[in-house]
């Protein structure tokens, strides 16, 4: 059990300008498991992911990392027009990959046709697929995905989440996923951590959905997400991740 752990956060916190962005978070990501961070805007999801990645210097608590083979999809990334960069150049950013490996990853996320396109000319959804392809192409042991499907159309979104689950099984890699899309999260996750500056609640998706703090944070309807997913598709999503019945 112990050697399956890829990264372990022990009571970590981070403050900036005398303000705690997140505090008292403990979690661990194991091989082949998907851990999802959920929570409202500003609840410290991205900060927690960055702590796990070791991007901050002065953190509280301990981070133990057992792998250096990491793939990261950041929440925001802007490519300056002064830097001419095609998709194929971007794929080689942190690792030397063969053409075959690049093609395979781009095919998996459905953007192989964009290989020679300039990164600046991609749409938001296309760019997101390229980011994901880049992160998985190096066959990482740990994947950190910060809102990996933002801007992707609805059917594509489901397909990408399925792909993420597939990857975790195929590569036996651990995934730390940040998402605001409760509905999809609940279906594909092994462990959910609900954040709001601290850990509100955590556990299996079923346990979390029943938790009163979770209900307080996301509303009564959200707690039914799981059952909705398990039965039939009878709702739509608002922009804020909220769920509306048809």
């Amino acid at each position: 059990m112990g050697n399956n752990i890829l990264v372990k956060l022990n009571n970590v916190g981070f403050q900036q300008n005398q303000k705690w962005l997140v505090q008292g978070v403990s979690l661990q990501v194991e091989k082949g498991k998907i851990v999802t961070l959920i929570g409202p805007n500003g609840s410290g999801k991205s900060t927690t992911a960055k702590i796990a990645l070791g991007l901050f210097k002065n953190i509280e608590g301990q981070v133990e990392k057992f792998t250096n083979n990491i793939g990261y999809v950041p929440q925001k990334i802007s490519i300056d027009w002064t830097l001419p960069l095609r998709v194929r150049d971007f794929m080689l950013l942190t690792d030397n990959l063969t053409e075959d490996v690049i093609d395979e990853a781009l095919s998996l996320t459905g953007v192989i046709n964009l290989k020679d396109k300039s990164l600046g000319n991609l749409s938001g959804g296309e760019f997101q697929r390229v980011l994901l392809a880049r992160a998985i192409s190096k066959k990482p042991e740990l994947l950190v995905l910060d809102e990996p499907v933002q801007g992707v159309d609805f059917t594509g979104e489901i397909a990408l989440y399925e792909l993420i689950k597939e990857i975790s099984e195929k590569l036996n890699c651990g995934i730390l996923l940040i998402s605001h899309d409760l509905h999809t999260v609940m279906s594909a996750t092994d462990h959910v951590v609900c954040l709001n500056g601290h850990v509100c609640c955590s556990g299996s998706p079923k346990e979390v959905a029943k938790n009163s703090e979770y209900k307080a944070l996301f509303g009564e309807q959200a707690s039914q997400t799981l059952s909705i997913y398990e039965h039939k598709h009878d709702h739509v999503h608002a922009n804020d991740g909220d769920i509306k019945k048809n």
Partner: protein, 267 residues
């Protein structure tokens, strides 16, 4: 053959163009042109110190420029002034102090125009060795830090998260920048070195769709600028630095035609 001053200047210029191309690309990508300017201006102080202590000029410039870079980093940490103000402060004060020191060193005759704008006659055989050996070293080190430097130019956090060391790459790059200024000051001059880094690169940007191409075009642009600039410097008796930079400007203007074409194709 190196007995001819013009051949020496040409060989020096070719060496500088090979180094300025790739470094210039990073200066543009990382938006460091004003930073490069600041380091270059401080080079004058390096020259005066070299003369008064009878010390190697290139080494002296290299040390002073690196020191200015360190001071800048400290000021950025300890003051609330924006970076461009700090850069201006350091650029102009080091240039001013350099010129004041020259005023005091009455026992040495300085060719101030030569220092500021480069002098085709000033390049001696020792300088050629400095440029080519130093330049080769700069390119070698750049090759070694290319991956982390390039990745962190695209996205700092992504590079760091995936196990590269952007902080170290950045520090090494600053040193390389100081080094190219040190080796190219005699030919191009204090005020125009950044132009040698930026203008061929800007031209290259107009012609390329990927980073490797941009580096190659920047080198070619630099080489052409050196050739055209030095020949016209010889022909019209103009200072070498401005002649090279003016040639680079002409190339840049030509490259704009290509941009116009691409935009028309898109529409």
């Amino acid at each position: 053959m190196f007995d001819d001053f013009f051949i020496r200047a040409l060989v020096a210029g070719i060496g500088i163009a090979f180094v300025a191309g790739p470094l210039g690309c990073f200066v543009v990508w990382r938006r460091l042109s004003y930073f490069g300017d600041t380091l270059a201006h401080s080079a004058l102080l390096g020259v005066t110190i070299a003369y008064s202590l009878e010390f190697n000029i290139a080494v002296s410039i290299f040390l002073i420029s690196s020191a200015i870079a360190l001071i800048l980093i400290q000021l950025q940490k300890k003051t609330n002034l924006p970076s461009d103000a700090l850069l201006g402060l350091l650029a102009h004060s080091s240039l001013a102090v350099g010129l004041v020191v020259i005023g005091f060193l009455t026992f040495i005759r300085f060719d101030i125009m030569g220092l500021l704008f480069g002098d085709i006659l000033a390049v001696n055989k020792k300088d050629l060795i400095t440029i080519w050996v130093g330049g080769a070293l700069i390119l070698l080190v750049l090759r070694l830090i290319w991956k982390p430097l390039f990745a962190s130019t695209v996205n700092y956090e992504l590079a760091q998260a995936e196990g590269l060391n952007p902080e170290r790459a950045k520090a090494v790059f600053t040193v390389l920048l100081a080094a190219i200024i040190a080796i190219s000051i005699k030919l191009v001059g204090v005020l125009l070195i950044t132009g040698m880094l930026i203008i061929p690169t800007a031209m290259a940007r107009n012609l390329s769709d990927n980073p490797k191409k941009m580096v190659i075009f920047a080198i070619i642009g630099g080489l052409l600028s050196v050739f055209i600039g030095l020949f016209s410097s010889l022909e019209f008796n103009t200072p070498s630095g401005p002649s090279i930079i003016a040639a680079a400007l002409v190339l840049f203007i030509f490259s704009l035609l290509k941009v116009k074409q691409t935009i028309q194709l898109k529409n």
